[in-house]
């Protein structure tokens, strides 16, 4: 017995919007959230641009916790807007970023400053463990089923949503709060990515620095934020009259088992993850109407992802719109997959595909329809959304329009 699973609540905190409506508007208008880093002085670092969330609250030192809580509030509130909350015991599936490490605290500790005595300060001094976010979300929303904390890096957000889908579909959980949260726009985070040459160095024109599939792409732009979704059984959602955004019908993962920082040259792992998601849904690749790509704007990813899509869809690949949310909001790392799932669902509901901005000179090897620069009206029945992690962990999720046509 496999239960059908639907999304009944969504919340987002992204560089270009802190509600789903605001986020959708920004996506369809092709607005970039990238600018010069303001969270700290990037001084002489090779990369000095990022897509920051404008966040005036100061409730948590670790921004990703604040983002997660706010996005979750939106999602849960929306899921209960019909007058009743999802039934039965809920669980949490969260893709979460690295523990926040404070260079300021490290210097203080080195100079003999004592560890703060207040419990909250002590638990966030020097390093903030990321499982704090899981505990806080579970406590805040009374989620009593054992939580799953995903740390599969750039694939974690998609893994969190996909795992939650499987847990409900297989009858192991009744409903789930699922998503991802991350913020690595801090000195060590930015310096770490700079040191491996992964980020764009187009510092003079931040809004144009992220240019997936473009010939002049030179790395990703770091973003931050959170996306959270409420998932539940279709039967439960219908019974309580909940608003249904979309159905989740498939999820697949794979390892590249190839290179530590570069994808398999033929996109083997990316293909396998996408194929498994489609097989999981028991549909044919020909059913796919659009793809929300991983689309990082790195030279290797975009090329390999293109190859994988071609292998998946065959000649039809040229007719399926493929767009990169990261062209506008940057790479949200562990939150990316969740926020991009929100983007894909919101666009699918509106019968639009958002653009891949800054695609002015397409790479000859990236020759698919990437919805260059301008959003397009395009009704979709099935949308595939993918995330491919540094370290070769690949995840794809298949979404279906609600109601089915």
């Amino acid at each position: 017995m496999r239960h059908r699973v639907v999304v009944t609540g969504m919340g987002v905190v992204a560089p270009t919007g802190q509600s789903v409506d605001e986020f959708l508007d920004s996506l369809l208008s092709g607005r970039s959230g990238a600018r010069r880093i303001s969270l700290f002085d990037p001084a002489s670092l090779p990369t000095r641009v990022a897509a920051e969330v404008t966040w005036t609250r100061s409730d948590f030192r670790d921004r990703k916790i604040a983002f997660a809580m706010h996005a979750a509030e939106q999602a849960v509130e929306e899921a209960a807007a019909c007058g009743s909350a999802p039934g039965g015991e809920g669980g949490l599936s969260l893709g979460i970023g690295l523990e926040l490490f404070s260079m300021e605290d490290a210097v203080a500790a080195k100079h003999g400053d004592p560890v703060p005595s207040a419990r909250r300060d002590r638990l966030t001094f020097l390093q903030t463990p990321s499982d704090l976010c899981v505990s806080m979300l579970a406590a805040r929303f009374g989620l009593t089923a054992p939580p799953a904390t995903h740390v599969s890096a750039c694939a974690a957000g998609t893994d969190a949503v996909g795992n939650a889908f499987h847990l409900i579909a297989q009858g192991r959980r009744r409903w789930m709060l699922a998503g991802g949260a991350d913020s690595m726009i801090n000195p060590l985070g930015v310096a770490g990515f700079c040191s491996i040459g992964a980020m764009s160095t187009s510092n003079d024109d931040p809004p144009r620095a992220s240019r997936p599939f473009d010939r002049r792409r030179n790395g990703f732009v770091l973003g931050e934020g959170a996306g959270m979704l409420v998932l539940e059984r279709l039967a439960d959602a219908v019974e309580r009259g909940a608003p249904i955004h979309a159905e989740i019908v498939g999820y697949g993962t794979s390892f590249d088992a190839h290179g530590i920082s570069e994808p398999h040259p033929e996109g083997r792992g990316a293909f396998q993850a996408m194929k498994r998601a489609i097989d999981d849904a028991r549909v044919e690749p020909g059913a796919i109407d659009s793809i929300n790509a991983h689309g990082t704007s790195t030279p290797k990813n975009d090329l390999v992802e293109t190859l994988a899509i071609k292998r998946l869809l065959g000649p039809r690949a040229y007719q399926v719109p493929v767009s990169s949310t990261k062209s506008m909001i940057g790479h949200l790392i562990s939150a990316a997959g969740a926020v991009e799932t929100v983007a894909a669902i919101a666009c699918m509901k509106a019968d639009w595909v958002h653009p891949t901005i800054n695609l002015d000179e397409p790479d000859e090897a990236c020759d698919l329809d990437y919805v260059a620069n301008v959003a397009r009206r395009h009704p979709q029945q099935y949308v595939l959304s993918s995330s491919f992690a540094f370290g070769g962990q690949n995840a794809s999720i298949l979404l279906r329009h609600w109601p089915p046509c």
Binding site: L123, G192, D256, A257, F390, G392, Q393
Partner: protein, 294 residues
């Protein structure tokens, strides 16, 4: 409190492996020796502990698409030496200087630091060296997540998504940052008791294992997980972990200080008999399982 019971009597353990303590050499298990430079202690531990049960189970060196990895990793172990260099080069007037960080310190930053500590890197190294291309689940940071990994592996085997599940836990806990974390808890954990460890088991459907002539090393009799959400800033003195064995006592290590690896290490080091494991974790998991080892 939600109690999950996912005992899968049709599943068999066909291999176990573990390693305790840093300083172990993964070289014999590496497909390409030069990859060693990318590996931190938790990667070393994971590769050794994952390779042993695969060999013990007489599985092919290339696990391929029908094998999945289900792994719980411990807290992030940034290396002190790497960070000290950065910190020392970032100071001006006794305080952190972003200007110094972006110039002097950045030039000293070892790019390999990025690779050696990330929580998904043990999964990468295991998949790379065993050519494991199937699905995965990678969680963090304690024994509760090991049980969730076990549940996921069990479900994937039950619904036929995979034929082989490599289920493990790994934690580099002989690390200053990890010890810093445990020392500030309320009540604190004696850092000297924290050990680095990794443990893995190979799970297969009993019928498939029998068909390929694998030696059955045990089975999971029953397993339960529950969770009680609570404010993480409140005191948690409920933590305890117990491993009990019947008919033998073959445990070489204090099971309570091996983080997410504790159960898998116990399974790998126990002699035949019945092993029961009970854990109440600081992050509010309660889990227990009973295993029959042959």
């Amino acid at each position: 409190m939600n109690v999950l019971d996912f005992a899968r009597d049709h599943l068999a353990i066909t291999g176990c492996g573990s390693v305790v303590g840093n300083g172990c050499d993964p070289a014999p298990f590496l497909k390409i020796r030069k990859m060693r430079k990318f590996m931190g202690p938790h990667d070393d531990l994971a590769v050794i502990a994952a390779s042993r049960p695969v060999q013990a189970a007489a599985l092919p060196a290339s696990l391929g698409e029908r094998a999945g990895l289900y792994l719980a990793v411990g807290f992030i172990p940034f290396e002190r030496a790497d960070l000290d260099v950065l910190v020392d080069a970032s100071v001006a007037g006794g305080a952190f200087s972003m200007d110094r960080f972006s110039t002097t310190a950045f030039s000293t930053l070892n790019p390999l630091l990025t690779f050696r500590c990330l929580p998904n890197m043990p999964a990468f190294h295991v998949s790379f060296n065993l050519d494991l291309q199937g699905p995965y689940w990678v969680g963090y940071p304690g024994i509760g997540q090991f049980y969730v990994a076990l549940e996921e592996a069990s479900a994937a085997l039950a619904d036929g998504a995979i034929d082989v599940a490599l289920v493990g836990g790994v934690a580099d806990q002989e690390n200053f940052l990890v010890r810093h974390h445990f020392s500030r808890l309320d009540p604190p954990v004696d850092p000297a008791k924290l050990q680095s460890a990794a443990g893995f088991i190979v799970l297969e459907r009993r019928t498939d294992a029998g068909r390929r002539g694998a030696t059955l090393r045990g089975r999971l009799r029953c397993c339960r997980i529950s969770y009680e959400p609570a404010d993480p800033f409140e005191r948690s003195d409920a933590y305890e972990e117990k491993i009990e064995t019947v008919a033998f006592n073959g445990l070489a290590h204090d099971p309570g200080e091996l983080g997410p690896a504790s159960l898998a290490v116990a399974l790998a080091t126990a002699a035949p008999g019945t092993l029961s494991h009970q854990a109440r974790s600081r992050d509010r998991f309660s889990a227990d399982s009973e295993w029959e080892l042959t």
